[in-house]
């Protein structure tokens, strides 16, 4: 674990999280290595979103440790804001700020958190918007965009701070089917740039294409993990097989 080369970028160890009586994560462990794409699959309520929210410190874990770049980020002594600034999160329902233009949505964190000068922040934001193919919408308000465009802006917003890891929580679930493709294509391009990603999805075909590793979550743990072709094509566990069959049928 201490060897510099095989230290995972993100390490989740025995994480437990419950809401009242309901135990959502029950000692879950998971590694994400740099430049890898790890895909979380599992039924609704299996803990995919909760895991992502715990990693982004939007929830406090009840037990266990999460390490980012070898540092325990669940330590309450740490400045959680600084940790969150190192990660990007994309939500299912975009969560763009409706009162800000696209450009201002993207430059908000660079200006307030990273203290980038306005002009430089705008240049960087335009470069990222260019990358997601929405430079021409910089002056638009979120409600003037389609769902797919809004989600691409949300991805640009998460990317602009050069996060160590991008967390994506079912980012295509709220989209019309014909808009899913543009977002998934973008994520594929991001993978090719070497971006580290941990993402939850119900899109099995996409998972197969993009994932270096697939983790099937069940009962608050990683029930089965492995290369995408193996977990999705020839699962070892009966429960995984049943889930994959239901979703690819």
């Amino acid at each position: 674990m201490t060897g510099a080369l095989d230290t995972p970028l993100l390490a989740v160890r025995d994480v437990r999280k419950s809401f009242g009586e309901h135990v959502v994560l029950d000692g879950l462990s998971l590694d994400v290595h740099a430049h890898r794409v790890v895909v979380l699959i599992g039924a609704s309520g299996s803990g995919k979103s909760t895991l992502l929210r715990c990693v982004d410190l939007l929830e406090d874990v009840d037990d266990g440790v999460i390490e980012l770049e070898g540092r325990d980020i669940t330590d309450p002594r740490l400045d959680a804001d600084a940790v969150r600034a190192r990660m990007g999160m994309v939500f299912q329902s975009y969560n763009l700020f409706p009162h800000l233009r696209v450009l201002d949505n993207v430059t908000l964190a660079p200006r307030l958190v990273h203290r980038t000068a306005r002009r430089q922040a705008q240049d960087e934001a335009m470069a990222v918007l260019e990358r997601v193919g929405l430079a021409d919408k910089a002056r638009a308000f979120p409600d003037e965009l389609s769902g797919g465009q809004q989600q691409r802006v949300a991805i640009a917003r998460a990317l602009v701070g050069r996060p160590a890891v991008l967390l994506l929580d079912e980012v295509t679930s709220a989209l019309d089917p014909e808009l899913v493709g543009e977002v998934l294509d973008l994520l594929g391009e991001l993978k090719d740039t070497g971006l580290t990603m941990l993402l939850a999805t119900h899109e099995m075909a996409f998972a197969r294409d993009v994932a270096d590793e697939v983790c099937f979550l069940h009962a608050g743990r990683v029930h089965e993990r492995g290369p995408a072709a193996q977990v999705l094509g020839d699962p070892l566990e009966a429960r995984t097989r049943e889930f994959v069959r239901r979703f690819t049928a």
């Binding site: 410190l57 009840d62 440790v65 009962a219």
Partner: protein, 300 residues
């Protein structure tokens, strides 16, 4: 792996916090203790500075004698309390009437269609006028103007006319609160209700209003607190409420302490209302859409 699909592992599962977690919890407890202590010390220090500063003022002995005389306070208390009971009754009756009138006004303002234009205009004009008029002017105009008409059967009691003035003014405010609540209910809720075949009225009554009212309970209670204080203004019409009783006692004893007594009683009256507002605002489900969402709690 033994838990059945889709079921939570029971909370009695053999989980005990790991050493890491125990250390974290201890740190958080220590931090909470430190903040509490700091808050306590700073509060005591600030209070001490203010108290000592006031007591060091050259005029303090005279102020103490004329505003904080315990004997006068005790002597005036029964009368002021009696007056406060009138405030409470006025407030209770007015609050009920205000809610009914205001709801009517709010509904009138949300009616669509040309048929309802006069009603809508009337309600709008009413709200405009009575939100703009200072309460004290409404009190004076109603309190002295209406009896001047010498109409048969119209009450001339200061309490009733004062109550009418309160209702006139507060209905306009509360109507706007209700209207804000009604308009905050998402149009998709109306669409869903109408798609089920509910009429416009049924949709309003069973879908829109229940959500709207829940959302505006905290601001409504805020207005109720405000009303409880403004009920003291009926004293200018001659009604013997807490303020008027204190005024009389002040003249009797040649001492201002009764005003302080009335002030303390009003504060004691409104504190429970204010706390109730906080509790209702905090209780999930009452704040409508936002409170139950994941991540609605505080982030560190």
């Amino acid at each position: 792996m033994t838990a059945p699909a889709g079921h939570a592992v029971p909370a009695q599962a053999p989980w005990t916090p790991s050493p890491v977690q125990r250390e974290r919890d201890a740190y958080r407890r220590a931090r909470a203790r430190r903040s509490t202590l700091a808050a306590l010390v700073s509060t005591v220090a600030l209070t001490a500075v203010v108290v000592l500063g006031v007591r060091a003022a050259p005029g303090w002995p005279r102020v103490q004698a004329s505003f904080l005389d315990p004997e006068v306070a005790l002597a005036s208390l029964p009368r002021v309390l009696e007056g406060l009971w009138l405030n409470v009754r006025v407030m209770a009756v007015c609050a009920v009437v205000i809610v009914v009138v205001a709801l009517g006004l709010a509904l009138a303002r949300t009616l669509h269609g040309p048929v309802f234009l006069p009603l809508r205009l009337l309600a709008t004009a009413y709200v405009d006028v009575f939100r703009g008029l200072p309460l004290i002017l409404v009190l004076l105009l109603v309190g002295f103007g209406v009896p001047g008409l010498r109409l048969q059967g119209v009450p001339t009691s200061a309490v009733v006319l004062g109550g009418v003035a309160l209702v006139l003014t507060y209905s306009a405010y509360v109507a706007e609160v209700f209207r804000a609540g009604i308009e905050s209910v998402h149009p998709s809720q109306v669409a869903a209700a109408r798609s089920l075949g509910l009429t416009r009225g049924q949709t309003l009554r069973h879908v829109v209003l229940p959500q709207a009212v829940r959302r505006v309970v905290p601001p409504l209670l805020n207005d109720l607190v405000s009303l409880s204080k403004d009920s003291g203004l009926i004293s200018i019409l001659g009604a013997v409420d807490a303020v008027r009783a204190a005024q009389i006692a002040t003249a009797t004893h040649a001492n201002f302490t009764p005003y302080v007594v009335a002030g303390v009683l009003f504060v004691l009256l409104t504190i429970p209302l204010t706390r109730l507002t906080d509790v209702l605002a905090r209780r999930s489900g009452w704040l409508g859409a936002q409170s139950g969402l994941a991540g609605a709690g505080a982030l560190r």
